[in-house]
Symmetry: C2
């Protein structure tokens, strides 16, 4: 293990769409781990859409990233040297100290992982995206067999997991994504109807795919999709508001849906959440999802960039829709 | 009792703001009540914002009003003659057959009223508006002592009741209405802070009135108020979506709030409802509200038009904000 490691820092706050110039690669010296500290070499790091929010300097549920400091995010790594009795060299661990090749843990939460699945699964279906999908779909969506579920951003890590959980729960699933390749994969894992939002009129296409309307909308994108979902919603529909990637990079706030009064008339419940709100479901999630993965009932796709220097590129890919499934950066 | 009675029919569907020409007064012959039928003379009828929705010819939770037929709505009347063993002459009854001076009930639901309060209270605090306020505030709003509650359209029948229930539940109440007279009355019944939405910048004024933000938003108006509520909402705020009167008469759909992503980031729950959804709370509502009325803990204002011919005028008043409290038409 070199005594140096590279990390990605936020050089300037993006205005609108982030670009490579907002980031910089910096090489830092790693000190030896002191008493109670652990040296970890990251093997995989995650890039996720929510990170865009932390690049704004504004109050939110997590503090903004600081300029000139390394970014943060999910990472899976291996313990190189440990002065903490809870960890030993060779342990597989998860942390929120991604965006760097290695780090000395000085009190930041570090979770030992069971293994038995590919390590990067802990950043996907068995990690934050999987838990986001699992907890909110059950807690807010309240799915019933026969419900029609509409998922936007269905090609991504969260969306593709929601689609498959909804099938396990005996729902009819309509998925929207921006490429036929993503949609073909979704069909291959059991999705009933697919809509390419880049082709033709979104409302007409969703109406065709869900002629009887929808009971649950899992929203990853906001914007036009949200308006369409309000339009086709059945009475008492549940809208799981996971993200609105379509507007994250707006320089000026975009107007919301023109059909908001449907919330009243159709008695819609629209609810936002953060995955940590459902932390009480963590054990249930891990148990059930691990079984589904082992049984081959939940599958996933990965899009991988290699090397810390390509982490900003991987992050930008999320907003062009270039990733199929979980977007990852392989660091070792 | 004359054998004739006047009724108000929908002559044409309003485009945008309704006007007098959309309605007509027609005199009809009343047949004698047959076996099992009841002749009722209405004493009071209600006009409510939701009726605007039924004037559109579109699918909704209730069928649209038919052109050339009498409108419908809450009414309190007295039984004149009864061939139904459940009713006797002189009984005070509630029906959905307002917009007419008298009617022969042929199977339409008729509810005998207990009395002991002014009869028109059954169209207000003890009727549909009161039940709308009571049920949704508790079921969706989930109020806790110390919560800050923001009520738009607070001068109306529903809004003014919500304000007082919120005070009983030990919340801090910020009320918005369009006239200082309405706001003075609201302060007189215990509302903590008031905002006249016609004066100055709404967002700034609400921020001043609720410097720590809001936990519950009771929405009667939609539009700019909804955007402001999203802006000042605290994490986990509950939005009770009762109505959006500000957009009911739009000829073209208006854009929604520009800050919809707050639903995600602040984990807001926004939920629409119809009073019938909470019918299981009816007994609890009647019991508690009757007590509050008798104890003087819930007060109300009325704005009264006299004579069936003025019912359309009373209805139009709802959209100009000309009513203080419950808008009623006195028919006898």
């Amino acid at each position: 293990m070199a005594k140096q490691a590279r990390e990605i820092r936020l050089k300037s706050r993006p205005v609108g769409m982030p670009e490579a110039a907002n980031f910089e690669v910096v090489t830092v010296e790693l000190k030896d781990p002191g008493p109670g500290e652990v040296l970890v070499r990251n093997g995989w790091m995650s890039v996720d859409p929510y990170m865009r929010g932390r690049m704004y300097d504004r109050p939110s549920y997590v503090p903004p990233f600081a300029l000139g400091e390394a970014l943060q995010g999910g990472a899976v790594g291996t313990v190189v040297k440990s002065n903490d009795p809870n960890f030993a060299a060779g342990d597989l661990v998860e942390s929120n100290l991604g965006w760097r090749e290695a780090f000395v843990s000085t009190g930041a939460p570090l979770t030992k992982l069971a293994g038995g699945v590919p390590p990067q699964a802990y950043l996907g279906v068995l990690g934050m995206p999987g838990m986001t999908a699992y907890t909110s779909f059950h807690r807010i969506g309240d799915p019933k067999p026969g419900n029609v579920v509409f998922v936007s951003g269905a090609g991504g890590a969260v969306g593709s997991t929601v689609c498959q959980i909804a099938k396990i729960r005996e729902c009819t699933v309509v998925a929207s994504a921006g490429s036929d390749e993503k949609l073909d994969w979704l069909k291959s894992v059991g999705v009933d109807e697919v809509v390419n939002y880049k082709k033709g009129n979104l409302l007409e296409n969703v109406r065709k795919a869900a002629p009887k309307g929808i009971d649950i909308y899992f929203d990853n994108v906001g914007g036009e999709h949200l308006e369409v979902a309000l339009e086709v919603a059945r009475p008492w529909a549940r809208f799981i508001e996971c993200g609105m990637i379509s507007v994250y990079n707006d320089k000026e706030p975009s107007p919301g849906p023109r059909n908001m009064p449907y919330i009243v008339g159709k008695r819609i419940k629209m609810q936002g959440f953060i995955v940590f709100d459902f932390i009480d479901m963590r054990e249930q999630f891990i148990t059930e999802m691990t079984q589904w993965v082992k049984d081959g009932r939940i599958k996933w796709q990965e899009t991988i960039e290699n090397g810390i220097e390509n982490a900003p590129k991987a992050f930008l890919t999320l907003f062009s829709g270039g990733n199929a499934g979980k977007m990852l950066v392989k660091l070792d």
